[in-house]
Amino acid sequence: MKRRTFIAGSLGLLASTALIGSALAQSKPITWWYESADPKQQGYIKSGIIEPFNAEHPDQKLTIDYRGSELDKQMRVALLSGNGPDIVYTAGPTYVAPMARAGQLLALDDYVTRFGWNDRILPVFIEMGKYDGKLYALPKTYETLGLFYNKTLFEKHGWKAPTTIAEIETLADAMLAEKIVPFASGNANWRPANEHYVTIVLNAIAGPENVYKALKGEIPWTAEPFVKAIDTLNSWWQKGYFGPNYFSLSDEQAFAQMATGQAGMMPTGTWQFQRVNTYFPPNNAEAGFVGFPSAEGINGPVYPLGVGSTFSVAATSKNADGAATAIDYIFSDKAYGVMNSVWPGEWNTPLSDLSKVKVDNGLPLYGETMKTLADAVGDNQYGYTTWTFLPPATDSYLVSGIEEVWLGRSTTAQFLEQLNATFLQEKADGKVPAIPAR
């Protein structure tokens, strides 16, 4: 090849590469690691969030990477080495405190003022994401526990949805007599389902005020209200309310049992709404949902608050502005309407005003429940879920410890004793997440 042609050719190649390079560099990348989503759900995220966001912000390029159920472990390692994504998606406030303490997360207070998050998001959730007075995380979904029931089955037997603890026990006894399992439940695929029931009794029987005091360290977990709560839960177990196959059934199988009428009620979380349309219509049944009734003297029903996952921005992010803008988009009314219409229960961002949001997912019960929940939270009528507000080792012990009580290998006193000891140890280590003032 002639020398001149060669030089001209390579210069041309360089020039075109530079042009392409600068064209790509126009849009700044924002990386987001997500947990798991099946292909249909990945499509919803793409059409509901990524594409509209990129269209609205041509100078940004949001990309998502599905890391599977091991996301939190990969995140921990990545952030330690400084190579994490821009949008840090964690499994809850328990993980935020140690990350914030280690300086891995960016303080978001400037963005709060810029985007007006204090007005649009329920204040209690802003408080939950704070560490040392600065905001580090926003919750992506919030969930609560309540009581699903088979409305059709209830009508057939002339039963009414319970409003007090006494009513729920009478109902359960009546169901046992009819050979119907009172509480559809199963932990075969998710052992931590145990803590759903502990959360319910701690809030409905011991009361959220007492739980708050224990979380702040003002009273021990061995105090009388908690003894009463765990004893009640144990009595329900011993009477057979949870059915004979608790350790063999998955939660989906348990839900199906309620839809077919083999079980009557299911104390569980709002994430089960995604199953209603799969199981109830084919069984010609209608689903109902009420808050779990509370004991005398407690203003109920109490809605224990849980945070499913949180959004933060990595401290080492090269595009913190872009990441915050993307997070702000996810918290918009438009994104709420779109995502909750196709994927109820997973994208329930804690917006304070749901009146202008349009959700159309064939589940009017879900919309009503979420509005009731948002109002209850606004009125301070909320409780505490163990997986959001307890530090990690305490929460993990709770799951196995309650099994020991149920199976007679430990007493309520021993269980609460060890729970308290573990909690105090972790409190001393600074591992308890932020508890908003009531």
């Binding site: 921990r76 280690a102 075969a188 196959n245 350790f247 080792a393 196995s400 149920w406 290998r409 430990s410």
Partner: protein, 281 residues
């Protein structure tokens, strides 16, 4: 000069195995949540383990597991291998059948047993219950949970031993077996005086490996019961896993790992001594 050929493998070994192992041993003396900086606390992790009843339950379960796996699968494997040796026709077919569970991913095997066999709703167990037999799901009772998991792992594991022993048996000199047959020696006496002594080194090796692997057992336990119900099927590795990734207590997990390694080391020491003795004979 020829020693330089060792360098590449040695390098990989040092970087991937030796250094992380040293780090784990070191971490056993620190308190670390996996995110902030580690804090030196001396022997506190080991003291905490000594006082932790779940640790003792887990250790006992590992010892029970070792006991089960040192006897049942080895006996089954030897018996089947000897039968395969005698019945030459079809030995290839049976070898494949016995070995098949070994190839299937443990996660799938565990779910198959959990959902298609043990489940009182969708499994064989459920079918038996509906027919009137008072069977229970072993994974749901504290007294049988570990045995239920061991059953699944036994089904998965014994075929491997069978194939190994069969390969060893085929090395036994034909004359010895012929001689025993001609002398009219019974089947059991042939096994006891000819076959087993002939493959004794293989059997010892498999027993030592069983001891080491019994202290490492994790997958089936974690997938089937996560150590439950009520810690009854907890083993050392599930305890370490939970401490490291759920309790955010990496130092404690490292301490458990050190305990596991100590048992493995003891077993290895026995094996090397036995080997050395045999070598000198």
């Amino acid at each position: 000069m020829h020693r330089l050929y060792l360098v590449p493998t040695l390098l990989i070994n040092v970087v991937i195995i030796f250094i992380p192992a040293l780090l784990t041993v070191a971490l056993a003396f620190f308190r670390w949540d996996g995110i902030t900086t580690p804090v030196f606390i001396g022997l506190q992790n080991f003291q905490a383990l000594w006082n932790d009843r779940v640790f003792w339950t887990a250790l006992t379960n590992n010892l029970i597991w070792t006991g089960i796996f040192l006897t049942i699968p080895i006996f089954m494997g030897l018996l089947a291998a000897t039968l395969l040796l005698i019945a030459k026709r079809g030995s290839m077919f049976f070898q494949v059948i016995y070995f098949l569970p070994m190839i299937i991913a443990t996660a799938i095997l565990a779910r198959v047993w959990q959902g298609m066999i043990f489940s009182p709703v969708s499994g064989v167990n459920g079918m038996l219950q509906r027919m009137g037999f008072p069977t229970v799901d072993p994974l749901t009772q504290p007294s049988t949970a570990l045995l239920g998991i061991a059953t699944v792992d036994l089904w998965h594991w014994w075929g491997f031993l069978c194939v190994i022993f069969f390969a060893a048996l085929r090395q036994v000199p034909q004359e010895q077996i012929e001689f025993a047959r001609l002398e009219g020696v019974s089947f059991w006496k042939t096994m006891r005086y000819v076959l087993i002594p002939a493959i004794w080194p293989t059997i010892t090796l498999m027993m030592i490996m069983t001891v080491i692997w019994s202290f490492l057992v994790f997958d089936f336990v974690y997938i089937l019961t996560q150590g439950g119900p009520a810690f009854s099927s907890e083993v050392l590795s599930t305890l370490a896993y939970r401490s490291a990734f759920y309790d955010l207590a990496v130092g404690k997990a490292a301490a458990v790992a050190v305990v596991i390694s100590l048992f493995g080391l003891v077993a290895t020491a026995f094996y090397i001594r036995a080997q050395a003795k045999e070598f000198h004979q």
